[in-house]
């Protein structure tokens, strides 16, 4: 949900509560005000009648529909103006209505009269109706205003935010440029920008350290490995007994494995750092065919048959060496993890490269194999980086890679069009 919508909903929610309370307050205030005014009006009426009575011969004859006049003994205490509610028959409406009744005693020409009159009360239903109508009208106006203006305003206020988002999206380690934002008037954004800027600087420096470390490692480790491997080779050719030969053999194999891991990690680091530059249009079909040809002998030995459906002259844009690595690793995998006798199905067209091979049922989820050093058979000689390299190459080129195990077949599908 958009921030502005949340704000709007909250604001409107609060407005509803305020309008409710306000409405109730207005209702009571209006009611009491009306009662007060009505009372005063009635008093004025009574006063007018009293003045009129002074001019009349018989003051009692003024009595009419709503006016009651009673003569009280002259010595009785004067009744002060008072108001009371009463139920009375209302002619026009032809029903009993709540009425307001006002009474006061006057001295007219030395005689004491008590006069009272009543009038229909303004019904609280009417007041409620008025109040509710007004409130709803105001609320609707507010709603329209808020929805329209908030959208306009938010576009303006949030503009720097969207700009920042775009900047973050295009952030790239390769450019080695920390995030720098234009200054805004909003304090929160300033805080965010400051934080992001510091974070990006930190990220870049960390990244550089890691990158340098892996580069140095893969480079510096080569020489000691070479030394160790040379010494072992010399040892192997010196007079040794069988037990010693076993030990040396084990050390030798471990050393070889280390070499492979370092080499593969270095390759992965190079891919991740996007160090292979200079893509060119490559005849992928002939590359795949050549590669298949190179492995013919190996496949022959493992009694692996190849079913290929390679569409001629499929072109892709890729660094030549990367393309070679991709195909090589794919075939390598398909051969290595195949059964014997086994088969490989290879399909290539403009859209997709699909390679599948019979193989052992995976113990876990096959997508796990895409992770580094994850492999189906932990004891195998394979180091478990081949698929990572394949995946990294696909990622760089925006190809989607899918690895499934269906019908006892490992199948890797690479969508060549992104």
């Amino acid at each position: 949900m958009k921030l502005i919508n949340q704000f709007t909903i909250w604001y409107l929610g609060i407005s509803i509560i305020v309008f409710l309370i306000g409405g109730i307050l207005i209702f009571y205030k209006m009611e009491s005000e009306i009662d007060f005014e009505q009372g005063q009006e009635l008093e004025r009426q009574l006063d007018r009648y009293a003045r009129k009575m002074e001019t009349l011969e018989n003051p009692g004859s003024l009595q009419k529909d709503r006016l009651e006049i009673t003569e009280l003994p002259a010595d009785q205490a004067m009744v002060r103006f008072h108001i009371s509610d009463t139920l009375a028959w209302h002619e026009p409406l032809e029903q009993v209505e709540r009425q307001v009744k006002a009474g006061k005693s006057y001295l007219v020409n030395g005689r004491h009269f008590y006069m009272s009159t009543y009038n229909i009360m303004i019904e609280s239903d009417d007041i409620t109706e008025t109040v509710v109508q007004t409130m709803v009208a105001i609320f609707l106006m507010l709603l329209v205003f808020i929805v329209v203006t908030s959208r306009l305003v938010s576009k303006r206020i949030l503009q720097p935010f969207h700009q920042s988002l775009d900047k973050i999206r295009t952030f790239n380690f390769k450019d080695n440029q920390p995030l720098v934002f234009e200054s805004t008037r909003t304090e929160e954004f300033e805080k965010l920008h400051d934080f992001l800027n510091k974070m990006s600087v930190r990220l870049l420096s960390d990244y550089k350290i890691v990158k340098e470390f892996s580069e140095n490692l893969s480079h510096e480790i080569q020489t000691p490995i070479a030394v160790a491997s040379g010494k072992l080779e010399l040892l192997l050719n010196s007079p040794i007994d069988k037990q010693q030969a076993n030990w040396i053999g084990a050390a030798y194999r471990a050393n070889e494995k280390m070499t492979k891991i370092v080499n593969s990690l270095a390759t992965l680091a190079k891919l991740e750092n996007q160090e292979f530059e200079g893509t060119q249009s490559i005849n992928f079909s002939s590359l795949v065919t050549d590669c298949l040809h190179e492995y013919e002998e190996l496949m022959g030995m493992k009694k692996i048959t190849v079913h290929q459906r390679i569409k001629p002259s499929v072109k892709i844009d890729m660094h030549a060496h990367m393309a070679e690595m991709l195909v090589d690793n794919l075939l390598n995998n398909a051969i290595k993890h195949n059964t014997s006798p086994g088969q490989i199905c290879l399909e290539l067209n403009n859209k997709v490269l699909k390679i599948s091979n019979k193989g052992a049922r995976p113990t876990g989820n096959v997508t796990e194999y895409l992770k580094r050093f994850k492999k189906g058979n932990p004891s195998s000689e394979s180091i478990g980086l081949g698929l990572s390299i394949i995946q990294q190459i696909c990622r760089i080129h925006g190809y989607t890679l899918e690895y499934t195990f269906i019908n006892e077949e490992h199948q890797i599908t690479i969508q060549l069009q992104n």
Binding site: T223, A226, V227, L234, Y252, T259, N263, M301
Partner: protein
């Protein structure tokens, strides 16, 4: 065969010298560009094994000097930098071969021998041992003048053994020799086993002694003193 080894890693240099002298290659060493220039100007070598990263500069700068002063010499670059750029540059400058560290000493030896045969001997060298004859030029091997029907890999393997007689060749060294650098993840030693099995079968069937023996857990060895 006499070579100059320019390598600043003393231990590595010792390994190479030790191995090469044990197979009858005379080895002179130096560990920087400056000394190397002296030696190149004064002596003559069949091959120069050159490390790229030296304390006083890049080994690539020496290639020109070697080409000028050692008309007959081969240049083999050894580098820890597994970079395609360096490899291409080195070969373009006139190096004959390129080997990435870490490498197997047997592989280095095989490469040096191959270069030596190709350049110094015009490829006409035929390796002979007892009843086995191997001709790298036309890729033919024969036992007692009977031609062996070998595949390319089997031939390479036999040549590798013949160059490194009486040396234990690790399976990984053989894998690297036969399939090169890029397939180094293809660690399936079954393939090596299969190739060796076929090669032995063919050699024995042609009436030769079974020179190739298994060194358990490590690899194989061409045993010159194999009994009949």
């Amino acid at each position: 065969m006499k070579i100059l080894l320019i390598e600043d890693q003393l231990e590595l240099s010792e390994n190479i010298t030790e191995f090469l002298s044990s197979v009858g290659v005379f080895c002179e060493t130096c560990d920087n560009c400056f000394d190397a220039q002296d030696k190149i100007l004064v002596n003559s070598y069949d091959s120069v094994v050159l490390d790229i990263m030296l304390p006083d500069g890049s080994g690539l700068n020496l290639i020109d000097l070697i080409k000028k002063n050692q008309a007959n010499s081969n240049i083999l670059i050894i580098s820890a930098k597994n970079s395609l750029g360096d490899k291409i540059e080195g070969l373009e400058l006139g190096a004959d071969d390129y080997l990435t560290k870490p490498f197997h000493l047997a592989e280095l030896h095989a490469r040096l021998k191959a270069l030596y045969r190709r350049n110094q001997l015009g490829g006409s060298d035929v390796l002979t041992f007892n009843e086995i004859q191997v001709n790298p030029e036309n890729l033919q091997a024969s036992i007692n003048q009977t031609l062996l029907d070998l595949t390319k890999k089997e031939f390479d393997l036999l040549l590798f053994f013949m160059t490194n007689k009486d040396r234990v060749l690790g399976r990984q060294a053989i894998v690297q020799h036969l399939w090169g650098d890029y397939t180094d993840d293809l660690a399936n030693f079954d393939f090596v086993y299969q190739h060796i099995k076929n090669l032995r079968k063919k050699i024995c069937r042609a009436g030769a002694r079974d020179y190739i023996e298994t060194v358990y857990g490590i690899g194989y060895k061409f045993n010159t003193s194999a009994e009949k």
